[in-house]
Amino acid sequence: MADYREAPLATRPKTLDPNEYFNISPEHRRVEQERAAIRANLKRQYQTQLNNPLRRELIEDPALTRWVYARTNPYPHFRPTFKTSLLGILFGVAPLFGLYYIFKTDRNRKEEQIKAGTLQRRFSLAT
């Protein structure tokens, strides 16, 4: 596996990362073991619930609940700063007035042309 070359569209898998083989310090190993311990704990919890023969309900995923809650409730943590206000104006207020102005002037121009009789109705579908 020393001559592994990355496939064009995939990142190098973690098990083939050279750092895993050549730069191992006890610190790095301990860190990886801690992460593996957390992962294994979660796996154990899930498998216990999954293989429980008396379980009737769906297995609730607290990480999913937290994600949904965080995504649907950003308002308590919102603070009007320069950047957030700018974004709000740019996406909320400016299109409103800008599009109104654009549509209104275009329609006015078209109305003038119709009244003057100079409007060209191209792309006619009849004959």
Partner: protein, 203 residues
């Protein structure tokens, strides 16, 4: 996931999955508190989720950081919240922007189509990084090369079409030439009279 929040009357949001009719009635009556707080539901959710396992505000002290890391099942050293710029993230962890395409397809995930294990912290933009959508895998050539090639080609074609509009070139054409003095007899000319000579050539 459906949310059980409803607009009641004009102003107050009410949690319909909440506990007890009293909570409902209370939320209907009171709307004190300023700004957004008035719209938050006044009763608690009825599922098994407790308040301290839900995301909260930005962690200021190291104890809050440790508690948040434990809540999200991340190591304390790995836990990195989004910078506190008032953008609404709270204490949600900032995970690396890697799409699910990059995860090992041969490992036995708990949810194989999402390539995710149960309980694993979910990226803020997880619904963007699923395997049907944005792919952050390495591309064959670099981003700058791709941009240059695409916009170079499109720009060149646009430029050439513009030049073609301004400087058109056609096959040379002339009006159609007819024999017999422009078909004098066929066009109803008098047979007695002598037609004028029409010369369509030059030798």
């Amino acid at each position: 996931m459906r949310t059980y929040i409803q607009w009641v009357g004009q102003q107050s949001l009410v949690n319909m999955a909440g506990v007890g009719f009293r909570g409902l009635a209370r939320a209907l009556c009171k709307a004190n508190g300023s700004g957004v707080r008035a719209l938050l539901p006044g009763c608690r959710a009825a599922s098994g989720v407790t308040k301290d396992s839900l995301p909260g505000g930005f962690p200021e002290t190291p104890e809050e950081r440790a508690a948040a890391a434990k809540k999200y099942n991340i190591r304390v050293e790995d836990y990195e919240p989004y910078p506190d710029k008032g953008e609404g993230y709270g204490d949600y962890p900032k995970l690396p922007d890697r799409s699910q395409h990059e995860r090992d397809p041969w490992y036995s995930w708990d949810h194989p189509d999402l390539r995710r294990n149960w309980g694993e912290p979910i990226h803020w933009n997880f619904d963007m990084f699923i395997r049907n959508r944005v792919d952050t895998s390495p591309s064959p050539v670099s981003w700058s090369t791709m941009c240059k090639q695409l916009f170079g080609f499109v720009g060149f074609m646009l430029f050439m079409f513009y030049v073609g509009e301004k400087l058109p070139s056609y096959q040379p054409v002339a009006p159609k030439q007819y024999p017999f003095n422009d078909l004098y007899l066929e066009n109803g000319g008098d047979p007695e009279k002598q037609p004028e000579e029409v010369k369509n050539y030059e030798i």
